[in-house]
């Protein structure tokens, strides 16, 4: 029967082309708009470390003398607290993280130096965040301690400088220091750039900068501090630093510490350890208060910072509302289309077709419209994502349709049109055969 209904549906769609085009257009535009925005939401709001994120934590203590126990602590750590917590090694893995702008010279003569972002982290960064290597590997803990002049570069930079060859062992010049390449990453594009997320509550919803690409050069933490001394930016200071850019002993917060705790039962112990550390610092007179320490897990930290840009959220709501209107529109048009064929329905019913059969026939027709609408909607989604890739936003390069969202496009189109077809189909199968036959 399904084949026959499909045949009937095709026939019916061809009979009134204008109405068919209108309906396909309604579904396609609605699906195109909502799938474009939902794809962006899906890409931006996802888990950047699936399977690992629940074991990653972001400890916070509040060194700000003007802070209060009732308030949230500052988003980052001062040097002393960060290094104390890191060197205690109470978690399974721990990484200090800081970013700075640095002048990068290549070995080739003649090329002008460029300013680029440098990430400085301790070696656990790579294992903790599953950072994939193409050539070489991370530096060792000894390199961290010895402030070795080594560097890991991204695939992007390796393509740019060395045409993608194995560049391990070659040298780069960071500001005035020569550093040896020990590792080259595979393409790595976490979304968001989660290890650098902070200050979201001050961003006023404009958080698209959380989706920038990872830094091109990654050095050991203490090496970075030495190489680029004087060029570090504070998150905030509660007093003027003596020498701006030199923040080791400054009254400033500027460092992030990430820890990995594999065993969920040990999380409470670590939380207590952070609280105890703060209490100890208060007792020693370095902190004025210690009641507002925090240990959020990765997703909790991203939520707290409201990483999804508010424009994106607004657009998604708008697109879904738009789809809703398109559906209401389609209900009306289907109603018109089905009831115009009351005579045909009456005839089928009189010849013995059951109500269910009539209902099924019209649902097949709605589904077919949904399928065609879905195909056009998919094209519109591709066009919409292309449009987003042309926008000057940090997440532009992420906007691509993945397989789940591709499937969802068709699923959504067909289920939307079936939903829209429900009411008209019910009305159509309630047609009283005798009335229709009389007027034939």
């Amino acid at each position: 029967m399904f084949g026959y209904y499909l045949d009937l549906a095709f026939h019916s769609l061809r009979r009134n082309k204008v109405l068919t085009v209108l309906m396909v257009l309604a579904i396609a535009v609605g699906i195109g708009a909502s799938m474009t925005t939902l794809t962006v939401v899906h890409l931006l709001a996802g888990d950047p470390l699936p399977g690992r994120s629940q074991a990653i934590f972001y400890p916070q203590v509040d060194a700000d003398p003007k802070g209060k126990d009732a308030n949230e602590p500052l988003d980052m750590l001062d040097y002393r607290s960060a290094v104390d917590l890191w060197s205690a090694r109470r978690a399974d893995r721990q990484a200090l993280v800081v970013q700075s702008q640095v002048r990068l010279n290549t070995a080739e003569a003649g090329k002008p130096p460029v300013m680029t972002m440098m990430l400085s982290a301790t070696t656990d960064f790579f294992s903790m965040f599953n950072v994939p290597f193409r050539y070489g590997g991370p530096w060792s803990a000894q390199d961290d301690a010895a402030r070795a002049r080594v560097v890991v570069i991204t695939d992007d930079l390796n393509q740019k400088l060395f045409n993608g060859e194995n560049s391990v062992g070659r040298t780069l010049r960071l500001r005035d220091s020569d550093v040896r390449i020990v590792g080259v990453l595979k393409p790595w594009r976490p979304s968001p750039q989660f290890y650098a997320v902070r200050g979201g509550r001050f961003a006023g919803g404009d958080t698209s900068d959380f989706y920038t690409k990872p830094e091109d050069v990654i050095t050991p933490f203490f090496t970075g501090l030495e190489v680029n001394d004087g060029n570090f930016q504070q998150f905030t200071c509660w007093q003027m630093p003596d020498r701006p850019g030199h923040l080791q002993n400054a009254p400033c917060v500027w460092l992030a510490l990430w820890v990995q705790i594999n065993d969920a039962t040990k999380v409470a112990a670590y939380r207590r350890y952070v609280a105890d550390y703060a209490a100890q610092q208060q007792a020693a007179g370095r902190f004025t208060h210690s009641g507002n320490t925090r240990l959020r897990d990765l997703m909790g930290w991203l939520d707290y910072n409201g990483v999804l840009p508010s424009n994106v959220r607004l657009q998604a709501w708008l697109a879904v509302a738009f789809l809703g209107i398109c559906l209401v529109n389609m209900v009306g048009l289907l109603l018109a289309k089905f009831l115009r064929r009351s005579g045909e329905i009456g005839l089928r019913r009189a010849l013995g077709a059951s109500r269910v059969a009539v209902f099924m026939q019209f649902m097949v027709e709605s589904g077919l419209i949904g399928l065609i609408g879905g195909a056009f909607g998919w094209l519109l989604t591709l066009a919409g994502l292309w449009f987003i890739r042309q926008q000057p936003v940090a997440y532009a390069d992420l906007a691509r349709l993945d397989v789940p969202m591709f499937m969802l496009t068709f699923l959504a189109a067909i289920s939307a049109s079936l939903l829209a077809g429900m009411l008209p189909a019910v009305r159509a199968c309630r047609v009283v055969p005798a009335w229709q036959l009389k007027t034939l």
Partner: protein, 407 residues
Amino acid sequence: MDILPILSTLRRHKITAFLVIIEIALTCAIVCNAVFIINQRLDRMSMESGVDEHRMLHIQLADIGDTKDKKSRTLTDLAALREIPGVAEVSSVMQVPFGNSSSNSGIKLDPKQKLSTLNATMYSGENLVPAFGLQLVAGRDLQPDDFRDFDEVVRGAAAKDAKSLPHTVIITQNMANRLWPGQPALGKQIYLLDYPMTVVGVVKELIRPSIWDDSAKSYSMIFPMRMARGEYVIRTKTPEDRERVLAAALTKLKEINPHRVVLKKHTFDDMRHDFFQNDRAMAGLLIGVCVALLIVTALGIVGLGSFWVAQRRRQIGVRRALGATRSNILRYFQTENFLLATIGIGVGMVMAYGINLLLMVHYELPRLPGIYFPVGAVLLWIIGQLAVLGPAMRAAAVPPVVATRSV
């Protein structure tokens, strides 16, 4: 025109009538709010900056760091830039409007205050007021003996040596009004890091480099500090000179020191354009959505209208046979659409208000101004009438003879 017969017909076609109403209501609710957001963004984009944008250029070189000769290098740069034909003013600055990164500080009116009165941004640089083209509305510009070197100030603040700090400041009119409503600001003191600064001048407007709260957008101060960080602002004599001067300036700077990295080089018009990129994209998107929505709604009305006319051909034929004129029939469908649109608009207004309340909570949008309601209503009425015109004319064209067929 009799409305009662129309109402009784509608009562018998509840579903179709309901669909039209819902569609108009949803469209009304969304379009009202979308247009409101568009207007907000457009307002933001035309925000006054206070600087002479059409004649200004911005060049930022990578900071050369803590070298001893950076002061003399800056003086060389400035002298070279000043020599370029077409240049009116130059300044080495700390930050610029639309620059997106800013230094800000809490301001107190009394050093004993626990919390700051407000947070303002700090501009500085010798010759900044003429280079920005700012308009002084009271007091005077900063004088050479007000100025201190930036490094000297930093060292002074670290050593708690008040002598090496500047004691004068220029503020914006908005900031002055916020600090001392209704009083002249000249001669008053503000406290920055517990050091007093005397207001010697007030400028009409100067927006902050990055704006996260629109109500505090013009809380700016100008400090007498000489900057040597490789960030230059050039004001040209005429707007037409800009491109040429920018190219000449870059060549000059390269000549002086070919090893420097140019981080930014643009006109202020381009900076404004980039600064409001997000707002523009959002406004464009919303305009697209509004147009699409109105088209979809109009097409929906056309579709349902045609269906309705087709369904009632016989009824129309009977009315024509009983003496109704073509224009009677036309009016009937137009009135019917008007009624449905009115109910839809009524429901839509309530929904628009509800959505606005939600947006006020989640996106800190202001309340929807009342003017949107009548304007939205008229727009939807017009669209409804245009959309129904085709089907209604087809209805009016039904010949009376239809009534005699197949009864």
